[in-house]
């Protein structure tokens, strides 16, 4: 049972990571996190900035 719970959690985390990355890329962001957030959005990905 413990194995199944851990596998489900890891699976969900993996799916979340992949979905986040793909969505970020589709929005014009970087596929890896760097570029957009890693360098304060140095215009490298043309990501539209909205106010925070």
């Amino acid at each position: 049972m413990a194995d199944v719970i851990v596998l489900v959690i890891v699976g969900l985390c993996l799916a979340g990571s992949i979905i986040y990355t793909v969505r970020n890329k589709k929005r014009g962001g970087s596929a890896c996190g760097c570029g957009c957030s890693g360098c304060s959005g140095s215009a490298c990905c043309g990501k539209r900035e909205s106010d925070s």
Binding site: C39, S40, C44, E49
Partner: protein, 730 residues
Amino acid sequence: MSYMIALAGNPNCGKTSLFNELTGSRQRVGNWPGVTVDKKEGTYKKDKEIEILDLPGTYSLSPYSAEEIIARNYLVKEKPDAVINIVDGTSLERNLYLTLQILETGIPTVIALNMMDEVEDRGDEIHIEKLSRAFGVPVIPIVARNGRGIWELMEKAAETAREKRAPMKLPVFDKKLQETIDQVKALLEAEGEPDSGWKAVKLLEHDENVREQMKEDLKNQAGKLTAKRYGQEADLEAEIADQRYQYITKAVKDAVTKHSAGCVETKSDKLDKLFTNRILALPVFAVIMYLLFACTNSENFLFLGIPSPGIWLAGVVESLWGGLTGLAERALAGASPWIYSLVIDGIMGGLGSVLGFIPLVLVLYILISFLEDCGYMARIAFVLDRIFRRFGLSGRSFIPLLQGFGCSVPAVMATRTLESEKDRKITAILAGFMPCGAKLPIFALFASTLFADNNQTLVTYSLYVLSIVMAVLVSLLLNKFVFREGTSNFIMELPQYRIPTLKSVLIHGWEKVKGFAVKAGTVIFVSTVLIWFLSGFNLNSFNGKNAAENEDGSIMCGMNDSFMASVGNVIAPVFRPLGFGEWRPAVGVITGWIAKENVVVTFAQLYQEDVTEAYLEEYFSQYSPKELEELGFEGGVYNAEAAGDIYSENILFEGSDENALPHMRDDIQTKAAAYAYMVFNLLCMPCFAAVGAMKRELKTWKETGRAVAVQMAAAYTAALLVNMVGGLFL
């Protein structure tokens, strides 16, 4: 109804600082020209109806570089509802040249007179009303860095946009020139050309972009008109510029009362005597950079016998992560061996190996940000121009290369600020050589484990120096054999030295950590699971053979029989001449192309068998209870759960265990080979995200492929030389 307000101005006049204040964004700002290379949009935080656009800096609307074209095209073709023209109050004459050109477009404009604090510090006085009258638009004094005057500015800009208040026509040109402009304008109007007034001036200025869009017939008629009034050899471009400057000079003379003597030596001038000195500038730069690394990655900070702030913070993060791993270990007590391995060895081990280096990246990045923001790095570009020029590169290339110290992606993008195509192509290749934040963990790992008995700061520092040396050498070769055009001129405005605001430096640091965290939670997380799977499984895992053979029934296999070993063994021979021809380090190179941090993740997972529970128990058995207590074992009693962390922090990274990491030492036998491995990872193809950026800048896959080939060849050659020559001494 929504409005679009564009921020336009000269480079380094504070547009992005103002943009960040108005929108609450955290766009990159820096005390040098050319930080912003693309337009960025945000929403005004006090009125969601107002969109604000930050344009790249430009000196005029006759653009020369790619980012200036972006600014000009937006203003002229897309036409915002209003422009806030940011003008540096300390350099009025130069900044107002662009102002006149913006006013000629007829777009409603408000002038934001920035850096008023510096104007006041000098004791000068600007009469706002007089300046406003001279340019026929509202002028609002502001200090963008601390937000002074910006709300009043926005009120005025919103009002100007709502009322579509076009600027009044100014008597900039003399009668003869104005009549010529009007005649050309009439010609254009007759042909139905929009923006005829602005285009008429541009046509007389011989603006290539405007001329390209005109019919031949129109250009000929305009040429005949000019020749009739000014003669065949007339240089109207110079005449127009001259008359604009005359107007500006008169306006500034009327509006500014200078209390400071013109030739008094400013603080910046005094500092420049040292920082741009022909002889001392480079040694001073070398010392400053060494101190930077001493603060980042040194067990013996400034010979004080204490760890550097970066290392100290890394210890804290490792302890916290160790605690978390301990909790996970307890929670997984009843789980299958492979599930335990997935979570503890794969995810926790892999992510932990990267997260431990975040503090080093944070400290280094904050310090580099400080040097950038105070204006020092712009001086280094100027100083390096002398050296770069000899090797066929302009000092301007240093700016993108410097960005590469943070991340290769913006570094490659920043190459578009270079005017010559040759410089752009060469610099895009060289940007990949720069030691980005993701490469620092590789250097720190190797310095702390394989160079533990050496000066670790020097090891890391030498790689940063090597990146610049390689950039210069490869540039020389490319200039000699591939690109044979001349070097373009480098004209750069040296900014005033300014003490960066704490907010700005902390924002840079926070953004870097956030970026790292996003990366750790996405690409690196997925990579850790993938690396764990490929290094712990083979085909026999799925046909029952492994389960039958393993005593505990686990379906996992030995690392040497894994999928990853099979692939690694195929590519490993390529690296044999470089000193690391075994499958594990070879695989590290490959996974590093997904994200450079993966090299550390790969090492952490593939060499975990070097630090087994049995090894730790045997190692700590040589210590007395008192010594164990000093190392951190509660009550001086050995504890298997705490042993891993205590070993990493106090033994492994201190270099106290001569027999540590036996497999890693078997695979990378000499220090020369270890250094060659770092050199190869430093110089070889950057991560895929950076290659994507190279493709965007170099336009074609063919060019990108050639650039990557140059990077790989340079990396292989340098690593080979290091291993061969270094092998004689190390």
